[in-house]
């Protein structure tokens, strides 16, 4: 099992980079930095991280084809790989609807957009002239003026059945925003369907669990720290997902209403233990280790600890580095 950590570059660049340096020392294999226009830029942040680290893989996690044209993504990714050869991985997904709509960008034909983007990016990174007359992108004999000497694996951010299947068909990896083994079992089946279409082996796909994670020696504090993140996940979850986890629709809808009306404290207080269990990996080191094990059995090959990481993120990372990662790196 590989381990990754996700950072949202809301803070000054140096703090995300300092966290990345510490993550490398603690044994994490991957750092994933999110890409939203309203945060620090993912490529700038990862450039500084590339300069100050040696082995950790640097993941763009994830960009989307709407805010940045895939040709521009290819150029930025190849430039980053020039600084950190063989360490760059590119995550691409359909994007966050609310954030994109806020700046007037609609998510149009997401499946075609991702399929075409991967085609364009792969072609450009391989040094080939790329042409495509697609449903979303029209490209005529495009090429980069420099050579990308590393292979850059492309991970697809996916949740729905069709995108999961597409990830299995064309991705080097898939990033699944979920935290419960049941969700991964469900997702892996669809990834497998895509893999079958491409005549590849599912073992060639890195199945990454992008989890809402919180660990602390004090389980109560770990759980309390994840309530905020879980409230937002519950509020944004479709009924099918709530149903899969036996979450009461009325409670979920109440949390959604509270968030929409800005009554955040009440929303966070309304989060139940069932919701915490369904939408996060939260608890003491031994309880989260058990959940990591269950995810591994469900087919996950990379476990990414995402926000909030813990009530105190750095302390939580030290726990993960000293107690969790070693359990899955030996024997």
């Amino acid at each position: 099992m590989k381990f990754g950590v996700e950072f949202v570059p809301r803070e000054p660049f140096w703090r995300t980079v300092l966290y990345t340096i510490e993550a490398e020392k603690l044994g994490f294999d991957y750092v994933w930095v999110t890409d939203h226009y309203n945060n620090r830029n993912v490529f700038t942040t990862l450039t500084v991280a590339a300069i100050h680290t040696r082995s950790i893989k640097l993941g763009i996690g994830v960009t989307n084809p709407y805010i940045r044209h895939p040709a521009a993504t290819a150029s930025a990714t190849a430039s980053l790989a020039e600084i950190a050869p063989d360490r760059v991985v590119l995550g691409i997904g359909a994007g966050d609807r609310a954030t994109l709509e806020g700046i007037g960008i609609g998510i149009v034909k997401p499946l075609s957009a991702i399929r075409e983007s991967v085609y364009i990016i792969r072609g450009l990174l391989a040094g080939n002239p790329v042409s495509i007359d697609g449903g979303v992108f029209k490209v005529k004999s495009a090429s980069l003026n420099f050579k990308c000497r590393s292979y850059i694996p492309i991970y697809i951010g996916a949740q729905g059945p069709q995108m999961l299947s597409l990830a299995g068909e064309i991705g080097d990896g898939v990033l699944i925003n979920a935290s419960h083994p049941e969700d991964f079992r469900y997702a892996v089946e669809y990834v497998r369907k895509g893999v079958e279409k491409s005549s590849r082996d599912i073992k060639s796909i890195d199945i990454a669990a992008y989890t809402a994670f919180s660990v602390a020696e004090d389980e109560t504090k770990a759980i309390a720290a994840s309530k905020q993140v879980v409230a937002f996940i519950v509020a944004g979850s479709p009924e099918a997902v709530l149903e899969r986890h036996g979450i009461n629709f009325e409670s979920a809808s109440r949390i959604r209403e509270l968030i929409v009306s800005g009554r955040f404290d009440e929303a966070f207080k309304s989060v139940t233990m069932d919701m915490i269990d369904a939408f996060s990996v939260s608890g003491s080191p031994s309880s989260v280790a058990k959940r990591v094990e269950e995810c591994l059995k469900a087919g996950v090959t990379q476990f990414v600890v995402g926000s909030p990481i813990g009530p105190q993120p750095y302390e939580a990372m030290k726990i993960i580095g000293s107690k969790i990662i070693p359990m899955f790196k030996t024997g």
Binding site: P12, I21, H52, T53, Q312, P313, Y314
Partner: protein
């Protein structure tokens, strides 16, 4: 003094405050980049590396920086 090593306990305490505390936005980039250099070289326990931590901490929380310096017997550089 330049050859001295600072106890891991103090380095960890300073790192913990710097990574989790408030005021990260007040740190000028030259001080931040200096800290990143020492951190990436694994030299935060050296006197100069630890000073880079303290310099960042001073921008975020001057009282805590002063307290740590006195506990580690470090003097402010002229």
């Amino acid at each position: 003094m330049s050859g001295c090593r600072i106890s891991k306990k103090y380095v960890d305490e300073a790192l913990s405050i710097i990574l989790q505390g408030k005021g990260a936005g007040k740190v000028p980039s030259d001080k931040a980049l200096n800290l990143l250099r020492y951190a990436s070289e694994g030299k935060l326990s050296s006197t100069s590396g630890f000073r880079s931590l303290i310099e960042v901490l001073e921008c975020m929380d001057p009282e805590k920086a002063k307290d740590m310096m006195s506990r580690c017997n470090l003097r402010r550089e002229a």
